[in-house]
């Protein structure tokens, strides 16, 4: 994957030569994203799969500029993300974290959290947001801190959707949840992708989850894409030795 770069015509997010390193000690640099090149198409589901510590979270954080890259280009809808005001960018490229954080208050206040500008929100709009994540209007007045983690993650998802993002980044959105709640979220995500044509980039350390989600997978190891392609083919017939090791559970 590295080196060769093809920009697809329907690219929504085009990444070229992306690098990020951190100073672990004064003078000691550690590369965590190593020459990442990829072109994400609009309306697709992507999963980024790899062992823990391979740089998956770091990659997502570069895409909504929670962290700053060392070099490389990130082109969103034909425009470098540097020329888009950061706060506006984060509404267009939304990030959902592994551990849902809900703000104290009500589910309603959480759904309104990101939208201070357009204040007179229709109640119907909020109900619609809840429905999209499989909850109903009964939840609006509830204190989200008393909900189960799975329900909190759905509130977090609805809260991100309230920004009407073009791309949704999800960092291991189910790894804090039990298997039942995980499946629900997976189904919600594929549904959102189909009904809203929302581009999803989902990080997971579990290739079985990637298989359930479908779409296109990128295998990330030590900050590099070692293999990418349609999820089913990739994991049923991996070309790369390290991908095989990862599937066999030898890489954690």
């Amino acid at each position: 994957m590295d080196g060769a770069h093809v920009t697809t015509p329907d690219a929504i997010l085009d990444i070229k030569g992306l690098n990020r390193s951190v100073l672990v000690k004064p003078g000691a640099k550690r590369i965590i994203i190593d020459d990442f090149n990829f072109s994400f198409s609009e309306g697709q589901i992507y999963t980024i799969v790899g062992p823990s510590g391979s740089g998956k979270s770091s990659l997502l954080r570069l895409l909504n500029r929670l962290d700053e890259r060392d070099d490389g280009e990130i082109i969103f809808q034909g425009e470098s993300i540097d020329s888009i005001p950061v706060q506006a960018l984060r509404e267009k490229i939304a990030l959902v974290f592994q551990m849902p954080y809900v703000f104290p208050g009500t589910v309603e206040s959480n759904l309104l959290y990101s939208r201070s500008k357009k204040h007179e929100n229709e109640r119907n709009e909020l109900i619609d947001l809840l429905n999209r994540v499989g909850l109903d209007e009964m939840y609006l007045p509830r204190n989200p801190e008393n909900l189960s983690l799975g329900q909190q993650q759905r509130v977090a998802l609805a809260r991100s959707l309230s920004m009407e993002p073009e791309i949704l980044l999800l960092d291991e959105p189910t790894s804090a949840l039990d298997p039942g709640a995980s499946r629900t979220i997976e189904e919600l995500l594929t549904n959102l992708n189909q009904t809203m044509n929302l581009t999803l980039i989902i990080v997971t350390h579990n290739f079985r989850q990637a298989l359930r989600l479908g779409g296109i997978s990128l295998v990330l190891i030590d900050g590099r894409i070692i293999e990418a392609g349609p999820t089913k083919e990739l994991f049923e017939n991996p070309a790369n030795e390290q991908t095989r090791k990862f599937i066999a559970g030898e890489l954690r």
Partner: protein, 251 residues
């Protein structure tokens, strides 16, 4: 009060010796610190006394300012060392303490409430600097622990398009409150539970209680104003180090 000299101090030291004997007899384990503390405070205070006599004797404006700058530097260094996790904590504290002192003493001088004499500037400056030092150390410590302990909440806010100022406002407010708590509590109990030091000292030195109270009120308001300014400056400077202009958390 009777005239005080070193003889009277020597008698007071007898009290400390009594306390040390008592501590030893009861095996409190504090006798050594008491003994060291007695000697140490004696030496420090007497040295300060002579230094102040010297400065008061000069009655030179620049000597007063120089003394205050030295006190500020010591205070800033101490506060910076307490807030170990804040980069340039001493520099931040210096700016905070300096601003707090400048605003309040400047205003008092400008309004003619005090004169630019060592008798006023040094004790008031000392109190302002000491309290501002405490406040800025507390503010920086609290800011760091709250922000580093709430990364997920803050980055969730940032990811929802909030500015770093909005995402950190709660912690900014809490830190300032923590730094001012001492002052705010003081207001509640002053005169009821505790008689403030300045007032006690004046009454002991023979001033009328009412006059002592009026001066205490002025001192109290001035200290609070100075601490407020210092706390806000320290918090503003410290929090700016924790975020980038691109609304990224740097911790």
């Amino acid at each position: 009060m009777i005239d005080i000299g070193f003889l009277e101090v020597a008698i007071a030291i007898c009290l400390m010796i009594l306390a040390i004997i008592l501590a030893r007899w009861q095996r409190t384990g504090t006798e050594k610190e008491l003994a060291i503390g007695t000697v140490r405070s004696f030496v420090q205070l007497v040295a300060v006394g002579y230094a102040l006599e010297f400065i008061f004797g000069m009655e030179n404006f620049f000597a007063i300012i120089g003394t205050m700058v030295v006190m500020m530097m010591v205070g800033a260094y101490t506060a910076g060392k307490r807030a170990v996790n804040i980069k340039n904590g001493s520099v931040i504290s210096f700016i905070a303490i300096f601003t707090g002192s400048l605003v309040t003493l400047g205003l008092m001088l400008g309004l003619g409430i005090i004169k630019a004499k060592a008798q006023y500037m040094i004790p008031l400056g000392g109190m302002i600097i000491g309290n501002s030092m405490n406040c800025s150390a507390l503010v920086m410590e609290r800011l760091y622990s709250d922000i580093s302990g709430n990364k997920l909440a803050i980055e969730t806010s940032l990811s929802l398009g909030k500015s770093w100022q909005d995402a950190s406002r709660t912690y900014f407010q809490r830190a300032i409150k923590a730094g001012m708590m001492h002052m705010l509590n003081f207001f509640k109990t002053v005169g009821l539970v505790a008689l403030p030091g300045a007032m006690t000292g004046m009454i002991l030195a023979g001033a009328s209680p009412l006059k002592a109270v009026l001066i205490q009120i002025i001192v109290g308001y001035m200290l609070t104003a100075a601490v407020t300014v210092a706390g806000i400056v320290a918090a503003q400077l410290a929090i700016r180090q924790m975020f980038t202009t691109h609304h990224q958390l740097k911790l």
